[in-house]
């Protein structure tokens, strides 16, 4: 169908506010960051000059950058895998009928809704080597002999951050999967039972394939979000011990603010952006495929 001129004008009128906001709030800062990443700029004075690819070459030769990238991947993959496992598990549990299910369904959201600062405060207290309840419990049941300094030793610090990340974000996976689970026709399971499929077979043959579309979207979204997660990691360990749990967003922050290398910080951010762009494209492809289905 061809649009009449007045119709297209109305269309333009509707889209203008959103487009303006997008340009002001997304495109302009993005463009600025990219511009800054080609300059040497002092964060305080904002004075500097064009240096071409120098910041990027600097990053590529920087041991700390590579180490941080690996940390970021470990954190992202580790917490993502746990989030998905916990998410699938809890979604399946909460999908079954049991007394108090409505309450359990709201309780499971709790970690996701809690402010990161508060959550981290609580977890740091639990993990504390001197008075933390975790050490107390583990010593008490005899799993360890003396308290462990969870947040100031490697790999314990990374493990702790990953565990807390998984705890904080798995409810997102639960909600998404639970919504999908409720739309799977029960008759598919009945047909499978008649066809002789065991409970485990029904999970693999029906539940999982039916969840796969949502699961792919959830995994892609969560990997983007985990990859750029700052508050949780920074508040838990500050990136330490040393740079043991330092992830890219923390490195960006450190370069740009304490070190005042705004240009280099921006360059790292742009590299992050490129990595996330890959996930974005995968995500777009997946959701396009979902629409088609």
């Amino acid at each position: 169908m061809r649009l009449k001129t007045s119709d297209s004008l109305i269309g333009v009128a509707f889209i203008t506010p959103a487009a303006t906001l997008f340009l002001l709030l997304v495109a302009y800062p993005l463009f600025q960051s990219i511009l800054i990443s080609f300059s040497a700029i002092n964060t305080m004075t904002l004075k500097g000059h064009y240096v071409g690819l120098a910041n990027y070459l600097d990053i590529l030769q920087d041991q700390e950058f590579w180490r941080t990238l690996v940390n970021t991947l470990i954190w992202t993959a580790g917490s993502l895998v746990l989030q998905v496992l916990l998410g699938v598990g809890f979604a399946l549990l909460l999908h079954r009928a049991f007394p108090g299910r409505a309450l359990a369904r709201s309780l499971v959201l709790f970690p996701y809704l809690l402010s990161t600062a508060v959550a981290v405060l609580v977890w740091r207290w639990l993990f504390n080597d001197l008075y933390g309840i975790l050490n107390y419990g583990l010593v008490h049941i005899g799993l360890i002999e003396r308290p462990i300094a969870w947040l100031s030793r490697m790999p314990e610090a990374m493990i702790s951050v990953i565990l807390v990340g998984a705890w904080k974000f798995f409810p997102f996976v639960v909600i998404a999967l639970l919504a999908r689970l409720q739309t799977i026709p029960l008759q598919l399971y009945e047909a499978a039972r008649i066809d002789g499929a065991s409970a485990v077979a029904r999970f693999w043959d029906i539940t999982l394939p039916q969840l796969s579309g949502v699961l792919a979207v959830v995994v892609l979204l969560r990997s983007i979000w985990d990859f750029k997660e700052f508050d949780l990691v920074y508040l838990m360990t500050g990136g330490g011990p040393g740079i043991g749990t330092q992830t890219l967003p923390i490195l960006v922050y450190r370069e740009a603010f304490p070190q005042l290398h705004l240009g280099k910080g921006a360059a790292i951010a742009v590299v992050m952006l490129l990595v996330m762009l890959v996930f974005m494209l995968l995500y777009l492809r997946q959701s396009a495929r979902g629409d088609e289905r």
């Binding site: 008759q187 598919l188 009945e190 002789g196 029906i206 394939p209």
Partner: protein, 361 residues
């Protein structure tokens, strides 16, 4: 091959609703038996209990001599075709067909061979690599049937498998199902609320109402000798006319009498009816096809004439109530006419008006 026997089956749901009461019936080996009844009468529930998807509150189900109530669906050697087909949406037609075999541990080659062979007989060969949502309703229906057939089960359960098809396809699939049953000769239990399906396909029909079995018999038995008013009214189209009146004896002959309507019964029936004579409380059931627009029993004023081409469906108002007549021919009457009515006395059904049970005659 097995028979299926229901023994005092009873099913109540958690919310207290009773879906089935004291249901006893034997489905003979190789029979095509249909559960027929209005919506909510418990047909699906009975079928689901046969499949093992639902557990009876009490009573037993036997396959041959084997009690099956405690067996899970997968161990009953049954197949079921669902009204919604319940095809696995993420699997291709071939994978759908092979699934029951895969769960039985049949080897890959053997599976493929059987699926291909079956697909050919069901005219699905060109569609083996499609997903269900890219199939038409009729094709999906065939795949569902194929998935049931492939494991060669002892008992087939079909829950309104044709109800989602258009009229033409339904007629065609009806014929195919009849042929299929003849070819494989397995026990089939079929659920429908469509009496045409029940009449045309079944060896026997079990008519149900409100969770209770009303009558079991061949389609002709059900049609000719409905055991009670419910069965009489449910089977037949247009539905049977009911007229309330009494039976009186006149010169040793039984006569059914209602306002403005008299039918003298034939001698053979008269003798048996002698003891049942009473002034009222008798319900006569007259099928529209057993009435004609000829003098003999009474008369009525025509309200509507529906011309079907080869016959007219004439609705007439009589002192005894509205009466529908199937009148062979064209333009047999016009609205407003006063027409004579004749009831075929051989075909008159008599019921007790209070209990609805058929009077023994």
């Amino acid at each position: 091959m097995v028979s299926v026997r229901y023994q005092h089956l009873h099913k109540a749901f958690g919310d207290g609703s009773v879906a089935l009461q004291d249901f006893s019936l034997e489905v003979a080996d190789g029979e095509f038996l249909t559960f027929l009844g209005p919506s909510g009468c418990g047909k699906t529930t009975t079928l689901r209990m046969t499949a093992g998807l639902e557990t009876p509150t009490s009573g037993e189900i036997f396959f041959g001599e084997r009690p099956v109530v405690d067996l899970p669906p997968g161990r009953r050697n049954i197949a079921m075709v669902f009204q919604s087909y319940a095809l696995y949406p993420h699997m291709t037609v071939q994978q759908n067909l092979e699934y029951p075999l895969r769960k039985q541990g049949v080897a890959r080659d053997e599976r493929a061979r059987r699926a291909t062979a079956l697909a050919a007989t069901l005219q699905l060969d060109a569609l083996l690599h499609r997903r269900p949502k890219h199939l038409s309703g009729g094709q999906q229906q065939r795949v569902a049937l194929g998935r049931a057939l492939i494991r060669e089960p002892e008992v087939f359960l079909l829950d309104e498998p044709l109800s989602n098809l258009d009229a033409e396809l339904r007629t065609q699939m009806r014929a195919e199902l009849i042929q299929l049953h003849r070819r494989i000769g397995r026990t089939m239990i079929y659920v429908t609320h469509d009496q045409v399906e029940a009449m045309t396909m079944s060896t026997r029909i079990a008519v149900m109402s409100k969770g209770e079995l009303q009558q079991v018999g061949t389609p002709l038995e059900i049609y000719r000798e409905p055991r009670n008013r419910f069965v009489a009214a449910f089977v037949g189209s247009p539905a049977m006319n009911f007229v309330e009146g009494g039976i009186e004896l006149r010169d040793g002959r039984a006569v059914f009498r209602a306002a403005g309507l008299e039918v003298a019964l034939p001698d053979a029936r008269s003798a048996r009816l002698a003891g049942l004579a009473r002034a009222s409380g008798v319900l006569a059931g007259i099928r529209p096809e057993h009435l004609s627009l000829e003098p003999g029993s009474g008369e009525g004023r025509v309200l509507v004439v529906e011309a079907m081409g080869h016959e007219d469906i004439v609705t007439a108002e009589t002192p005894a109530g509205r009466i529908v007549v199937r009148s062979a021919g064209t333009a047999t009457a016009a609205a407003g006419d006063l027409v004579p009515l004749r009831v075929d006395p051989e075909k008159l059904h008599l019921f007790d008006a209070a209990s609805g049970e058929r009077l023994a005659c």
